[in-house]
């Protein structure tokens, strides 16, 4: 019988640095653990994390483990604990709902490094990380502002949380920077994952007069709808150009690779420190897919915007910004800090629709 388990060369630095807790783990193996909320076959959020995991494994010769489809409730703590008991030296918990479970386990395992994505609770051995997805949304907004004939973008949201809201606001700010009359029509599908409903929502938005689709949901379904109608849209999480070769303008690609490589390496070297990483284009954590299906001037503007954000010349949440009702939200000259952005619960002028109170 063949045992297909890949045998990796032991990573030099890992050998015998710290005592391993698990009894089943070989002492010379550095193991990294990943906890995903979705299936890696979702071709979206969890899929991208897994791409990052594979990149880190390859770069560092590390043996990693993943557990997928872990519910963000009572089960998370057990899974994280199992990984810790099993000798994993660094554990990435990749969804917001794992926050408190990660913190609990981190307290019990001071020698293991924990990394929690998109949360805000930290400890000496628990760091947080996230991507500035909103930077990509601003660029998308600029493109949409120049491309949309109707001046109306249909925006599909999952659930109204700050992550989604800041994306919508960044989008409208980008859009209004080139078309002051630009508008977003939004719809929430109230589900993290349902390709069919995403498609339904896209159709409804296009029927309501939008001529470009943007999405904060993971599947290529909305893009496919846009393509079918000869309209344009934006991808999400990964490059979806294969699904809509004539419709995808660009896509905000989650790029966890470098972060996973750096942090795993730091854990192996013993140089790991806690902290909060919120990286965007500049840090290489967010990548824009090839600007396609647009005239040259739009492409140039998109590239310039991307460069501007990278250089810090464009600050997205810088006043004056008006709230939805036209009242001043951010005064001229003022800039929102990361805390304000991370907890954003208001819609900017130009976004139609309500938020739950």
């Amino acid at each position: 019988m063949l045992i297909k388990r890949r045998t990796f060369l032991k990573a030099g630095a890992a050998a015998g640095t710290l005592p391993l807790l698990g009894k089943t783990a070989a002492a010379d193996e550095f193991k990294a653990g990943y906890v995903y909320v979705g299936p890696i076959g979702d071709f979206g959020y969890s899929y991208q994390h897994d791409q990052g995991r594979l990149a880190a494994d390859k770069a560092l010769g590390v043996k990693s483990t993943y557990v997928e489809k872990v519910p963000e409730g009572a089960d998370a703590e057990r899974v994280i604990r199992s990984l810790a008991d099993d000798g994993h030296k660094i554990i990435f918990t990749t969804s917001f709902g794992f926050m408190d479970a990660t913190l609990k386990v981190a307290r019990d395992y001071p020698d293991i490094y924990f990394e929690h994505a998109t949360g805000y609770k930290r400890a000496d051995n628990m760091a947080t990380y996230n991507i500035r997805f909103y930077e990509g949304r601003y660029i998308q907004g600029v493109i949409a502002g120049m491309m949309s004939k109707a001046g109306v973008v249909g925006y599909i949201g999952s659930i109204p949380i700050p992550e989604v809201i800041m994306g919508m606001n960044a989008f409208i700010l980008g859009m209004r920077s080139v078309n002051p009359q630009g508008k977003i029509k939004q719809v929430f599908i109230n589900s993290w994952y349902d390709p069919g409903k995403e498609a339904d929502a896209a159709k409804a938005l296009l029927d309501q007069g939008a001529d470009i689709v943007a999405q904060h949901t993971d599947s290529p379904a909305p893009l496919q709808v846009a393509a079918e109608r000869g309209l344009k849209g934006f991808g999400q999480a990964s490059d979806m150009i294969k699904f809509a070769p004539n419709a995808q303008l660009t896509s905000s690609i989650d790029q966890w690779d470098n972060y996973y490589i750096d942090r795993t390496k730091a854990a192996m070297d013993g140089t790991w420190k806690t902290g909060d990483t919120w990286g965007g284009l500049k840090a290489g954590m967010l990548k824009m897919a090839n600007y396609a299906n647009m005239p040259d001037d739009v492409r140039k503007a998109a590239i310039a915007t991307e460069q501007g954000i990278r250089d810090g010349k464009i600050v997205i949440f810088k006043g004056p910004i008006n709230a939805q009702d036209g009242s001043a939200k951010v005064a001229a000259g003022q800039t929102l800090n990361d805390g304000d952005i991370a907890s954003m619960n208001w819609l900017a002028e130009g976004v139609e629709g309500d938020l739950p109170k």
């Binding site: 979705g38 299936p39 890696i40 076959g41 979702d42 071709f43 979206g44 899929y47 109204p160 029509k185 939004q186 719809v187 929430f188 599908i189 109230n190 589900s191 994952y193 349902d194 390709p195 069919g196 409903k197 995403e198 498609a199 339904d200 929502a201 159709k203 409804a204 938005l205 296009l206 029927d207 309501q208 599947s219 290529p220 379904a221 496919q224 079918e228 990964s238 294969k242 699904f243 139609e352 629709g353 309500d354 739950p356």
Partner: protein
Amino acid sequence: MDSAVFVSVILSVISAATPLLLAATGELVAEKSGVLNLGVEGMMLVGAVVGFAVTLTTGSAFLGIVAAAFGGALMALIFSVLTLTLLANQVATGLALTIFGIGLAAMMGASFVGQPVDKLPSLYLPLLTDLPIVGRILFGQDGLVYFSFVALGGTIWFLFHSHAGLVLRAVGDSHDAAHAIGYPVIAIRYGAALFGGAMSGLGGAYLSLSYTPMWAEDMTAGRGWIALALVVFATWRPLRLLLGAYLFGGITILQFHVQTMGLGIPAQFVSMLPYLATIVVLVVISTDRSKIRLNAPACLGRAFHVTG
């Protein structure tokens, strides 16, 4: 609403209703024979992945669709062996089939994630398809949409106008009597259950080949459950099934339009509409007790074994 938007909304509703109608039609036939298979979600997923995989590898959507029906039927075969031959409890076995199907589909589909496939081609008839309003709605659909209606019509004819259908209903209403007359109860139920599985497979294939042409894990997102509920909603009458599937699909689409109107109603409440409307309509049509009794197969979910 101008006519182009009207047409587009109708087309969206048809897309949303078709997978439900396909799967529910199959389940209705199975239930009419007395087989209650709660594994529709699992059978749909297997149909979706098989249909996608075969279409992508052979390049033939037709083969893909046939394979999807076959895949769904194979799932139903597992169910049938357990419940009809080994007399296992139907409710529990159906639920177990869903768990099994979710896993099986995910495993089969692992290498197909992130790959595009061409959408099922739509019918195009010169002149007819170009007719205003009705053109695209009547003459511009893909094969599975037309098939969903053909299957429904065929089911009506079969159940209520053919001798075989009469026998099937007899088996569902009183397996002991049907057996006494000499009908092969178990064989008929096998046939009905396999038909149900095949139709669920087609419902799944519609998702992965037409509705959203791709494969992603768990992409049915609960539509199998809705299909099951629609059979109850229809009180086992095929025409009411049509009403139910289009009502549910229609309100699903409508909720997004309502959301964009800015009525100040939280989106979560608007999303409740399809479920609440289904309950309300069921209540309205259920009040006449005698009619439901006549329609519900008396032996639904009950095991049959020949004694002596």
